[in-house]
């Protein structure tokens, strides 16, 4: 995937940085779970994984199908999820539109669509098991499966790589 190679090029200016990146990928709890559908949907794995400043992640596959969810950081901050409001299939969403919400400990938190697309399905498993949001937010707890309007939309400065996202968390807290 050419997108992967540009990412590597951007984040490996020196050997030291490259080693740091690898270390971070292996350690980060905000990395997408490689054993679950958001990762295994296509045999080659996602062609791009991006993060928003609102703590959503999006994993896009070569055919333009993408999975959206919230990060481990966000799930931990929310506390135990009691209800997940899922998007309706066929909803056409622009970047920044509300994709759904998570209720946890009396708090309703909005989830936003990172880039434009059409909702294919919400993760119905969350209806019966909202706790998946806490147990595996970057895997089994994915919230929506969407067909992106244009995969190239992921190449915006608004979205972050895992490394950039982790860095932003350190800067804020």
């Amino acid at each position: 995937m050419f997108r992967c190679s540009t990412q590597v090029a951007r984040f490996a200016p020196t050997r030291f940085a490259a080693r740091n990146v690898l270390f971070l990928r292996a350690q980060s709890s905000n990395a997408v779970n490689r054993a679950q559908l958001p990762f295994t949907f296509s045999s080659s794995g996602p062609s791009a994984i991006k993060y928003t400043s609102q703590h959503e992640w999006i994993a896009a596959h070569p055919d333009g199908t993408a999975f959206v969810g919230i990060t481990k950081y966000a799930a931990d901050a929310l506390g135990d999820a009691t209800y997940v409001e899922l998007p309706e299939a066929e909803s056409e969403l622009e970047a920044g539109d509300s994709l759904g919400s998570v209720e946890s400990v009396k708090s309703a938190s909005e989830i936003y669509q990172p880039v434009g697309g059409v909702v294919l399905e919400g993760n119905e498993a969350l209806n019966d098991s909202p706790q998946l949001i806490n147990e595996d937010p970057l895997g089994e707890g994915w919230i929506a499966k969407v067909k992106l309007n244009n995969v190239a939309d992921l190449e915006t400065d608004e979205l972050m790589s895992l490394e950039q996202y982790e860095k932003s968390l350190q800067e804020d807290h």
Binding site: E85, S104, N127
Partner: protein, 394 residues
Amino acid sequence: MGHWTILLLPIRLPCMARSGFCQAKRFTSSKTPMSLDAKSDEYDELNQMYSDMFSETSSNAARDQSVLSEIDELNFEFNAFTNLSISCLNSSQLQNIVSQAGRFVMHSTSNNPFYNLALESYIFKHTPHSKKRKNHNERLLFYINDKSVVIGKNQTIWRELFVEQCKRQGYQIIRRMSGGGAVVHDLGNVNYSFLTSRDNFKREFFNRLIADTLKDHEPSAEVSLSSRGDILFETQKVSGSAYKVAGGKAYHHGTMLVSANIRGFSGLLKPDQIAEEIWEGGSVESVRSRITNIGDRVVKSPQEFIFLCTQAFRKFFGGEIPEFWCNEKESTNDEIVSTVDLLMSQDWIYNSGPKFTLKLPSGEFVIEKGIVVSSTSKEYLHRPFWSIAPTLVK
């Protein structure tokens, strides 16, 4: 110093007047407490209004704080007992103040729950937020609602409320935009809403501030926080909380029972179990608690509670924090009106909320978006549940 002397002082804190007529100005000064660039005549006028409103605040620093605090409180109470008209924001002032950076305290003089929730939502949505710059945009809003029963965004209305009984007893039914469970409001209950950035948001922060403030104010009062972050007086709950996180911001709004007619609340909220009604589905259930008022024993009036919270907010965040007043007639705009319409709509109140299944001795019903999508009784299929609920459930 006698009361009459005090009452003749300039009144710094106008009342929570119920009157919709708000135009009197009673403050004068040349100081401008907020930095506004005077770009046009319109802004000049606005700037002058800020000057007028906050002149007293600017000169307060020199005075003795404890005396001042007593005077403020007496003024506050005096105003609460009289129906003096006050300066409320007009539409463009509201827009300006909300969308500019900076902290403030906002009071709604309206008792209309739909307007108050819409105003809260407007302030929340338009408070500036930038991930890159550190924000100092904490805001505190107070409002008092007429008799109403308020459920959380993701609750099933018939599971939580005796809907017909609520209507018979004259309580409005409202679905709010935040999470959590069902609460009952009346004019003896104060709603406070603390708004901050998502990054600075801490669930327990504001209730801890209130609990500490009440303990300072009345050291003999047994005020504490429960494990759920609720404020307790002795062993009973006096305040309920709910939260909303959106657009990089968050608010914590809560109720404080000061002098509510708690007896009147009975028969409105359903207990955990109702004979012959089995509810299934993902909706959020209320946690039932025994409630009481803090009036008489901790604070004298809803106004005193508002005053103490305002003071605590100012003390915690420091600096000049202006106070504004809104009413339904003047402090409004298209967005607030359309939010009121949404909140009042059948679709929002009855038809939103999670999918659920109701099992009764007479049959089973699956309801999605307020519509019966499957049922053992074919005559109910595809009908809105609100239209058949009165004959089916308590």
